[in-house]
Symmetry: C2
Subunit: 161 residues, 2 copies
Amino acid sequence: MIMKNRNERLMEIRRLIGSMNISSQDELNKLLEKRGYELTQATLSRDLKYLKVAKMPDDQAGYVYILPDKEQVVEETELSGQGLSGLISIDFAQGMAILRTLPGHASSIAYTLDNLDVYEIAGTIAGDDTILLIPRDGVTRSDLVNLLKIRMPGLLQEPAQ
Amino acid sequence: MIMKNRNERLMEIRRLIGSMNISSQDELNKLLEKRGYELTQATLSRDLKYLKVAKMPDDQAGYVYILPDKEQVVEETELSGQGLSGLISIDFAQGMAILRTLPGHASSIAYTLDNLDVYEIAGTIAGDDTILLIPRDGVTRSDLVNLLKIRMPGLLQEPAQ
DNA sequence: GGAATAAATGTATAAATTTGCATTTCGTAT
DNA sequence: ATACGAAATGCAAATTTATACATTTATTCC
């Protein structure tokens, strides 16, 4: 049986937790099984620790898992202002993202992106008006686009597929 | 032995969790004991659920409890802009807080405060330029001042004690 | 006040999560 | 290819957390 790799699984876990209310590791594990992943609850516990997923009380479901939101904290402060306003577009090639920026803006934007400290971004390299963003394995285009949209609403235009 | 009441305990739990890294309910319970509270882990579990305290993985401590942060989410959007800019001052009397606002601003600010949906605020009543804010039992002045400071940095001047 | 009702808590137990240790898998260098 | 070290995982036990049920404590309504 072909075992999908860990990074794909981690991304799938993020997607699941981000898109629905999940109350226990067993519940999450069943969802993962349906998607072709096979693992024990112990591994799941470690995955959630790695992803910094928190379990929070919820009126409806009792308890739900939530993704870490350095996002809201860092983002609103660092990005909304002028932090990322020089960003022009995103494109994808060779499994990586190429961000175009205004001349001279690349390194500061890349710096900001690095400091988001999000799972999806493995690293960045900046030139003068271009940033090469290396996504972690398993991260899709739309994952990245969504990520960036959240952080710079209005600034980002959908890249041509 | 005089048992401090539940609300005081809940506030103390919030303070403890907000100010230090706590990794388990037993650990928290011991801290509470030192402060004169006596309760079982079961009650603590219920308290944490009531307070919507989440347990999140942490590089240092393994796991730590964190306070819910509707704050950052709601706040940045609803308040930073003009939502609370009409607020002038805070004062305290009879265990309640009296907020002064620009004329006509009271009810909209009170509405915003209500929708913060934070534990500390039991309720509000607004006139034209004054808001009566009823804190929950056990909530101190500085609790409230800190709460408001977080939401409207710069807008709030320390009230005369 | 006293009965009735609801809220809070304890006890004991079940459920859920974490972790030490052994094993397997994977990558890398020889 | 083989050997080595590191990373990932499973298994089982320990720890931690949640909850059903009973009891106590507080509140409300006559």
